[in-house]
Amino acid sequence: MAEVTTPVARLASEDFGPKIPPKPVYSTWLRQSVLGWGAFAGFLLAMSWLFLALTRLIIGIGEQIPVSWGLSPAIGTILSLIVVLVMITATLLTMADRKWSALMQDRVGPNRARFSIIPGLRDKPLKGIPHIVADVLKMLFKEDFIPEGAVPNRFLFNLAPLLAFAPAFMLFAVVPVSPEVTFFGARFQLQVARVDWGMLYVFALASIAVFGTALAGWTSNNKLALLGGLRASAQLVSYEVTLGLTLVGAFIVFGSLRLDTMALLQGMTEPGLRAAAAFANRAGDFLARDDSLLFGWLPSWGGVFQPVGMILFLVAAQAEIKRAPFDTPEGESEIIGYFLEYSGLKSGMFYIAEYAETVVIAGIVTTIFLGGYHIPWLEPTIVRTTEGWLGASGIAWLAVLQVFTFILKMLAIIWVMFVVRWAFPRFRYDQIMRLGWKMMLPISLANVALTGAVFLWAGRDGVAWMGIIEWIAFLFFIGFSARAQPSAEPGSHSSTVVEH
C-alpha cells in the first residue's frame, strides 16, 4: 500500500480496524500479582524499618547538639509517625476510598491521570495514584474564596479548617507503634507522647474537633452549612458519651489509661521474650513458647476481652469522625455540609482531616482491641530466629516486624471502616440520635457493669471467658438468625396491592 502522507490518511491508518488487546496469559497475571503484592509487603517492611531508623537518626542528631533539650525522641517520632505514617496514609486513603469503593461495586475507578512527564510512566495508570497529585494541584491553585457573609468572622472562618485538621493529627501522639526497643544503641519507643492520661487526651482532642465543624458551619453564614454544623455538633457530642463508655471495659481489664501499657499487656514483654527465646535455644525447640497467651492458645487481645466494647467503639468512632453511615453533617446529596462555603486548600483540609481521623481511629482500635503491635504466637520464635541477623538483636528485628504488623492491622481496620461506609445508606438524623442514646449508650453501660462485676468475681480470665462467650453468641446470632419465611397467604401489605 502507498505510504501514508496526508494528515487525513494518517488519521485513517491509525484508527483502522478494531484494536483488541491480546488476552493476557494467566501465568503472567499470576507472576505480576505475586510480584506486586510482594513488593507491597516489602515496601511496608522497609517503611517499618525506616520509621525506627528515622527516629534513631533524629535522636542521634539530638545527642550531637551540645545543649540537649531532650526533645529529640519526640521530634523523631513526630516526623516518622505523624508526618510520614499518618499524613501519607491519609493522602493515599483519599484515593483508596475511591478505588476500593470501585472494587466493591464492580467498577474500575479513577485511572485516567498519568505522570506523562516521566518517560517510563506515560501510559501507566498506576492504580490511580497520579490522581492524588492532580487533586492536590487542583486544590492548591484554586481561589481561596471567602464568602461575603463570612467576612465579619474572617478569623473564625479561617480557624475552622485548622481546628478540624490539627486534632486529627495530634490524636496519633499517644498511639504506640512499636514497643520500647534498643535500636542501634538507643532506647526509644515509636510513640510521640508517653503520658499517663493517654486515652483522656484522645477524648479531649476528639471533642475539640467538634469546634472545627461547628465553627465552619456557623461562620459560613449559609443556612445549609449551619444545618450541617448543627447536626455535627449534636452528633459528635452524643457519640462522645458512648465513645468514652465503650472503653471503660478495656480500662478495667488493663487497669490503665496509657495506650502503651495497654499494648504492652496484650503480648510478651522484652524480658519475657528473651527468657522464652533462651529457653527454646537450650531445649532445641524451633517454636518458642509465648507466655502471654490466654489459656495457652488465645492471644490476649482487647478484642477477646471486650467484643461488645470493640464493636460499639468502632460504630461510635465512625459517628465521631462523621463518616457514612453517620455523615448527615456532610450529607452531600441533601445539604452539602458544614464545609459548603470553603474552597481550595481549606476545603482540602477538611477532606484530609476526615481520612487522618480514620487512620487515627484505626490506630487506637488496633492498640486497644487488636493487640497493638504484637504478633500473636510467634514473637519469641522470631526473636530466637532473627537473633544476630546483620548484627542486630532479635528484639530489634522483632520491633521492625511489630511496626509492620501494626500497620497491617491498622490497614485492616481502615478497610473495615470503608466497607461500612459503602455498605450502609445514610442514617436519618433521628435514627442516629436513637441509635446513640437509646441503644448504644445502654449497651455500653451494661458492658461496663458486666465487665466490672466479672472482673471482681473471676478476674482477668473470667473477663476473657465472658468475651469468648460474647463472641460465640454474636457469631451464632449472625449465622443462625435466618430470615423468617414470608407466609404464602396474602398478608396485610399484599392486600393493598389487591386494592390497587
Partner: protein, 216 residues
Amino acid sequence: MEHPKDERASPGPQPDLSFGERLYLREAIKGMGVLAKHFWTNLFGFRDPAPEVLDRKGPGVNLVSTISYPDERKPYPPGYRGMHRLVPRVDGTPRCVACYMCATACPAQCIYIEAGEYEDQAIEKYPVRFEIDELRCIVCGFCVEACPKDAIRMDTGTHAPAVLSRPLAVFDKQALMQGPAVEHPSDVLTYRVPLRTPAPREPLGPGVTSKGDAGH
C-alpha cells in the same frame, strides 16, 4: 379518634420481619459480606480483558466488565457498516473505475469523484480524486450496494474517527485505500486481457451498468 391515613407516610417496617432483622445487625453484616466478597474477587481476580466476556463468571475471575474504550475495544458485530474503504487490487490500484454509481446512489451526496483515464490498460477509468465527507455520510450503505466492481466496502469494523476540524473529516483517496486487496475471478476479464471497449463519456444513470456483474 383515629387519624386519617396519610398516603405519603412511610410504610414502616414490614410486619413479618423477624427479631434478628429488626435488630439490623445481622443484615448489616450480611451486606458488608457482600461488599467484601466483591472487593476481594475484584482485587485478586484475573482480569479477563476479552471484551466479549461481559458477564464474567467463575472463581477467581474479576467481575469488572468495564471496557476502557480507547485502550480496549469490543469488536462490532458482523455486518456492522463501519467506515468506508476503497478496495485495492492486488497491484495496489483502486478497484474503482470511477463510474459515479456510488456518488449517484448516495442520499447524503457525500461522495465526490473525479475520473481519470489509464493509457494502456483494459480498464480505462480510475478515480483521480475520491473523497467521502464522513460528516455528511449517513452510513446507509447504498454506495456499497450500488458499486458494480466491489470497489467500496464498509467492512473495516471501525467507525469514522473523531476529528478536530471539519476538513479532516473529508477522507481522500489515500485515506480510504485501506485493508486487504480483493480479487475476483471475473477480474481476469477486465485487466489481465486487454479489452478495447469504448468508455462511456457521460455518467451512467442509477441502476444501469455497462457490463455484467463483475464482482461477487
